[in-house]
């Protein structure tokens, strides 16, 4: 029992997070920046931060994750990190030749009060930024919000630094996909193509975090949203911001800055959320939903009806980020399952409001967000009344093992399995994959636990 140290009795904790269901802002900013074409994320802080983020992203994506660091020393902590950042800019452009350096801060540089805008201006003044090269930045203090906040802040910076209005509307729709996998971004783009909608996706980590093997080590891959595309977002017809926490802040800024109509949506996980996505996309772009999409949807509904008996009343515990948890729980409820426990370390009332609505028909459902909404609490809930299934990132494998509950890996980070980069969870096809995973987990468990006299060949 790896987590034998989790007592069943639940005591309210005041000052302590145990086994967190979140991490800090900078890693989110780093992941978002990896979705810009030829962009090198830069961590303005101690070396360790950059190293940790790169390691965790590498474990998740099994790809080289490149990022640079200001390598703070005691001197920088006392006198500020300006000199380090200026040296960094010079070294990065001469050695790694990115189109964009995306600087994010850390708790250290935030607290000493480095003014990144001023430092970038100074770098420009001193001729350290080559022509057609850019530095953007996001403030990502680790002691506010979570990794999702950092992602949102960097996406917002893309709008702040690049989006422009030429006065002539372009017949395109912006899609801000939120913190999803390269596979999900690919799938959302495919759906747009299928709908006949020209779209700009930002950020876009397909072809940067799921690169083919080619015998070369290159820093950036071929993917990512280009600067031209980011600029053009200001002329688009509309923006679909997928996910309240990760995408809406950028959508709002784009609306304020360039008057691009904003649609706030959930990440299209599951049937209903995908329906809303498709419907909104058709409305925003003024196109009809093609029959091919209806047929995809039909296949999803078919697999749901074929298997409804296996989902009914199954109790599920989930942990992760609000943007994913809300539509995922909605989907589980829609197919007859009971998401009874849900925690996210990412703070915000939005989660409470949406969860209250999504889980209103689930008896005894508990959900919680913020500092003490951690996996320790989730485990305690499970110890008090068990569940049939656990859904979340790799950290759940301890609870899964100790409580003998199957775990479906979903979210970030997944450090012990592959597939998430390649097979989407979004859209109707993604939902079919989710259903397959749910069924496999439940039925494998049933086969494994069935006594001989109850062991069956077919389901």
């Amino acid at each position: 029992m790896l987590l034998r140290h989790t007592p069943k009795d639940i005591k309210e904790r005041e000052a302590l997070t145990i086994n967190p269901a979140k991490t800090c802002q900078p890693i989110g900013a780093m992941y978002a920046a990896l979705g810009i074409h030829n962009c090198l994320p830069h961590s303005h802080g101690s070396q360790g931060c950059c190293s940790y983020h790169r390691s965790m992203l590498t474990r998740h994506f099994k790809e080289p994750v490149m990022a640079t660091t200001s390598s703070f020393t005691e001197g920088s902590a006392v006198f500020g990190g300006q000199a380090n950042l200026l040296t960094s800019v010079e070294n990065i452009f001469s050695l790694y030749k990115p189109d964009v350096i995306a600087v994010h801060t850390t708790c250290l540089s935030e607290t000493i009060g480095d003014d990144i805008v001023q430092i970038i201006a100074k770098a420009a003044e001193e001729g350290k930024i080559p022509a057609d090269k850019y530095i953007i930045h996001a403030n990502t203090p680790s002691y506010i919000g979570s990794h999702v906040t950092g992602f949102a802040n960097m996406v917002k910076s893309m709008v702040k630094y690049f989006s422009l209005t030429t006065g002539v509307k372009d017949n395109k729709v912006n899609i801000i996909p939120g913190w999803v996998e390269p596979s999900d971004m690919r799938e959302i783009k495919r759906l747009a193509v299928e709908m006949g909608v020209a779209s700009i996706m930002f950020p876009d980590t397909s072809e940067t975090m799921d690169r083919p093997q080619n015998g070369q080590f290159d820093m950036y891959g071929t993917g990512g949203t280009t600067i031209d595309e980011l600029r053009a977002t200001g002329d688009s017809l509309a923006t679909l911001a997928l996910g309240h926490d990760a995408s809406v802040p950028a959508g709002e800024l784009l609306n304020a800055k360039c008057k691009v109509k904003l649609y706030e949506l959930d990440i299209p996980v599951g049937l209903a959320a995908t329906d809303r996505f498709i419907k909104t996309l058709s409305e925003a772009a003024g196109v009809a939903v093609p029959e091919s999409i209806e047929r995809e949807r039909g296949r999803l509904v078919d697999i749901l009806t074929d298997n409804e008996q296996y989902f009914y009343n199954k109790r599920v515990a989930l942990y992760g980020d609000p943007d994913q948890l809300v539509p995922l729980c909605e989907f589980l409820v829609d197919i007859g399952m009971q998401p009874v426990y849900v925690v996210t370390g990412t703070p915000g009332k939005y989660f409470d409001e949406r969860m209250a609505e999504v889980l209103k028909g689930v008896p005894g459902a508990k959900f919680r967000q913020g500092a003490q909404a951690d996996m320790f609490l989730l485990h305690q809930w499970i110890k008090n009344e068990p569940v049939d299934l656990l859904i979340g990132n790799t950290w759940g494998k301890y609870i899964s093992r100790d409580e003998n509950i199957p775990l479906i890996r979903f979210g970030f980070p997944i450090m012990d399995r592959v597939g998430h980069s390649y097979f989407p969870n979004v859209g109707y096809m993604g939902a079919i994959r989710l259903v397959e995973k749910l069924l496999n987990a439940l039925l494998d468990e049933r086969d494994r636990k069935a006594p001989e006299e109850k062991f069956e060949l077919t389901f």
Binding site: I18, K62, A77, L95, Y143
Partner: protein
Amino acid sequence: MAEMRILKERERQIGQVSAGEELKILCEKKSLAGSVSQRACVFCGSRVVLYPIADALHLVHGPVGCAAYTWDIRGSLSSGGQLHRMSFSTDLQERDVVFGGADKLYSALVELIDTYQPKAAFVYATCIVGLIGDDVEAVCKRVTLEKGITVLPVHSEGFRGTKKDGYQAACDALARLTGTGSTQGVGPCSINILGDFNLAGEIWMIKEYYQKMGIEVVSTITGDGRVDDIRKAHGAKLNVVQCSGSMTKLAEHMKQTYSIPYIKVSYFGIEDMADALYQVAEFFPAYPQILEKAKVIVQTEVAALMPELRAYRTALNGKKAAIYVGGAFKAVSLVRALRLLGMKTVLAGSQTGNPKDYAQLQDLCDPGTVIIDDANPLELSKFIKEKDVDLLIGGVKERPIAYKVGVGFCDHNHERKEALAGFVGMRNFAREVYSSVMSPVWRFSSRRGGDYIPFRETVVCKAH
């Protein structure tokens, strides 16, 4: 991608071994700002060294990230309690940064100690704690007095230096534990094992070798470590130090304070492993049977190992390896172990090597071998291609680089899943190297920048 150049400032940190000429590698330098350094920070160094102590509480004082990224990430195994595998954080928020986090630290410690009654507690100070000026020392003292459980501050603010400085901070904390327990009953042929972290159960194997020789192992620091054992570690007659980068400071401290001598050993590879056992045996000349037993162990283990190794050697003979690891001392062992497999090391580098380490590496390596300090991924991939490497040995961030370039990989860092220490470890190492270098998948891949044309077979099947 265009041919990369090496920054002028980095040139003296890279060199090539040539016969009869002494190569001076510039090292122990701060990483260049703006480089994709593979290095980490002070906190990282302290955390990896101390966290294997399984019955202590490890509380990370700072925003949540530092605790999240180090949650059971090293894979240090424990034969008993698993408290070290939990992630405890004070999860500092903005208001704490403004008003100070000392109260929060105090409450968190009290809550944790009341729940777990640990044998001791370590409080890791992260970057921000150093800035906002929480008096961690005072809080630790207060809780120690109130709860009767030793609470030790670890001064591991990230910006205070590199991982090496974190080792020092960890050793400082450990030094406050040693010498606080009774050494009654500790025998004359006794040692402490320092600097093994029990990845994949390695310390259990090493301990067994020593015990078979008739040596008493007083404490293992820190793999599968226990607080009470560390408290009485000063009763041992000898400290046996592996991973010298992390633990020499503690060994030095114990030598000065308790007059316990230490020897540096390595458990990687047959030669180094056997040498470690012999060195320990020779330290107890009054007990010649220890050496006799050591000889028997070495003979038996090597005899059991050789037939399999020979087979691997035949297949691997002449293949080339690149090594890029945390400590240079490990690189030395790896060069020897690879040689035993018939492989040639063409690049050897480390994140934290010192001049002595690099001199030793240079003596050991063949002319033409590139020696590199604090390498970045571009440099690594450049040399992999230039030197026609078949295998890269490194850690988590190096693995995908090797695969993208189309060469084999062996994790000799935190993410090893098989024990690589000891005689059994040499067999596992050989198997891992063999399976990666000789894997059939490489024939489908582009290798070292060379072209692989997927559809070059013009006629795949006959059309009718």
